[in-house]
Amino acid sequence: MPKPLPYEYKYLRSSKRFPHVWCPGCGIGIVMGSIIRAIDALRWKKDDIVMVSGIGCTSRMPVYVDFNTLHTTHGRALAFGTGVKMGNPDLKVMAVMGDGDSLAIGGNHIIHAARRNMDITAIIVNNNNYGMTGGQFSPTTPIDAKTATTPYGMIEPSFDICELMKGAGANFVARGTVYHIIELDSLLKQAFDRKGFSVVEVLAPCPTNFGRANRLGGPVEMMKLLKDNTITQGQAAKMDPDKVEGKTLRGIFVDRNIGSYMERYNALCASVEEAAGGMQ
């Protein structure tokens, strides 16, 4: 087993909270490592960082990292995070969520956080199902896929997380995978560095539930699927359109700088205070 790099240790509650709850072959730990490397590259102070989560496998992440950490109720990570950011705008707030947490029960909160362009980095680990409760279908379960609650196959279409977030108004939208790890480190670093609402969707395997139900093989085979079934937008542009069909695109889909919520709220306060001062 590869050892964590020494600098990764200093971001972990390593002496107390491990071993973790994740299954062998789960992708969530890889995302946690990537988050840590991105933060280390940005030289952020641990005291200034708040990691918020909801409920589910991904949402267990905050307990392992040595930031200010907030494990909330199902789907509400972004609502709690909005309060944290407004309560103390100096804090750097990230929300780590699964696909069910962020898009089903938390669907309303994520579209409104994106619309407001609230200053939060949302990291969505998409493993296509609810892992913690035993592999039920989620809003990103592919059509025809088998899960504990789609024993005859999934009939509902899926959300495309990146398209959804683009339409809802996020400042930065990207997709990576836990196989393309250098790329993921870079995407997360850029997302953290943006003002406003930034979203990174990370495709990750759930061999225990989704993989087993759909006979996708073990952890290695599922990693290979991420390698084979995804391409960058640059690769897609050079490829025969027939071959692009069925592949999932990686990379940055939105990178714009429309004023963030906190910028607009601060400007509002300044203007009303000035107007009130003028009246006196």
Binding site: R76, G83, G87
Partner: protein
């Protein structure tokens, strides 16, 4: 200056709540529009930017109370305002705040239910929802104002109690109190006591977010203060990390209970008028208490004497005082704007010798003094 300190004004109950929040140094408001509480959010939308403090209209009530908890963990004293259906949605976050011991103030201007009910009309239907609405055993503090002036004072008290006990506090005006206009004389600013946030003074490495103390109430750091800690809705140890070990689970649950039950003297707040030497007592709260006082006057003219007993703090229920003061009465009449909620607590604390009689009204209108007089005359 937003709060008219020292002045006398004709204002609305909801306005008094908003001013009380400013007086208590509110630092964050999140809410969702709902009748009959909306004026509180509207007024704070004007005041908060003037104070340079954050205010937000969230996408629903669940998001509102969730944002409140986040903001208070980041150090900002927080309040929301809602009514019955929104209060139902907020039960999720209310339970989280109880479990994670996060101070906040939740104003529920009570309207008629169940469900959408009579949105613009009064009720006291959320008394039991305030006590048991969220799942699991949990501590609750709830206060019921009876006047516009009390909306101001009890909002400040709600903030103070939430900080002192590190727990959510629910303010329960009924619609009549929220929308009524009355004269309010504001106190001098320096006469209002504001309880400071319970910040820790230990070195960072010694900090426990739920440090056991003799009072069962622990100092609380904020995110960004240098004390890094974990907060979860899972049952947790004194550091805030999840646990399933029996001694730690028991300790947490006992502490949650005891931080209220061992401070009843600080929380109890009752008003009594001629209770001691009356055989018949009316037990009433909120707007109904005002009718009960008027009924007492009407009955005096008929040379009939009744007492009036009012809990200002509804939860925790004033068990001991009710037993002491009402258990020797012939009749306790409990008029409520519901089909009988707090009456069960009165029955619980009085023996079978005492006739505890309900008076209900659930059509969205007030219980009048005449209705109380008629009920009293029947039993006298």
């Amino acid at each position: 200056m937003i709060v008219p300190w020292g002045e006398t004004k004709l204002i609305q109950g909801n306005e008094a709540v908003a001013l009380g929040a400013v007086a208590a140094n509110i630092e964050f408001f999140a809410g969702y529009p709902i009748t009959p509480s909306t004026e509180i959010a509207e007024l704070l939308a004007r005041y908060m930017p003037l104070l340079g403090k954050p205010w937000i209209q969230m996408e629903d009530e669940i998001a509102s109370i969730s944002a409140l908890i986040g903001a208070r963990l980041a150090g900002a004293k927080s309040m929301t305002a809602t009514s019955g259906p929104g209060f139902s949605l907020m039960q999720e976050g209310l339970g989280y705040a109880c479990m994670a011991e996060v101070p906040l103030v939740l104003v529920n201007v009570m309207r008629s239910g169940p469900s959408t009910g009579l949105p613009t009309q009064t009720a006291q239907g959320d008394i039991m929802q305030a006590r048991w609405g969220t799942h699991g055993d949990h501590p609750v503090i709830a206060l019921a104002p009876c006047s516009v002036e009390e909306c101001f004072k009890l909002t400040i008290r709600a903030f103070n109690l939430s900080e002192e006990f590190r727990t959510p506090v629910i303010l329960l005006p009924d619609e009549i109190i929220g929308h009524m206009r009355e004269r309010v004389t504001f106190p001098a600013e320096d006469s209002v006591q504001i309880v400071p946030k319970p910040v820790p003074d230990v070195p960072v490495e010694w900090y426990e977010h739920y440090h056991p103390t003799p009072t069962n109430i622990s100092p609380m750091a904020s995110f960004g203060s240098g004390y890094r800690f974990h907060v979860t809705g899972l049952t947790h140890d004194t550091h805030g990390f999840p646990t399933r070990r029996k001694p730690e689970v028991d300790a947490k649950m006992e502490r949650l209970k005891h931080k209220i039950t061992r401070h009843l003297d600080k929380l109890e707040d009752v008003r009594m008028h001629d209770v001691e030497d009356s055989r018949v007592v009316v037990f009433a709260y909120g707007s109904v208490y005002r009718s009960a006082l008027a009924a007492q006057e009407l009955l005096k003219k008929k040379r009939k004497k009744i007492g009036v007993f009012r809990p200002v703090t509804i939860w925790p229920f004033p068990d001991r005082t009710v037993k002491e003061c009402l258990d020797d009465k012939d009749v306790v009449l409990v008029p409520e704007l519901n089909q009988g909620q707090l009456i069960h607590e009165v029955e619980r604390m009085t023996s079978d010798e005492v006739r505890v009689i309900p008076l209900h009204r659930v059509d969205g209108y007030e219980i009048t003094p005449e209705e109380i007089v008629a009920s009293v005359m029947e039993v006298m």
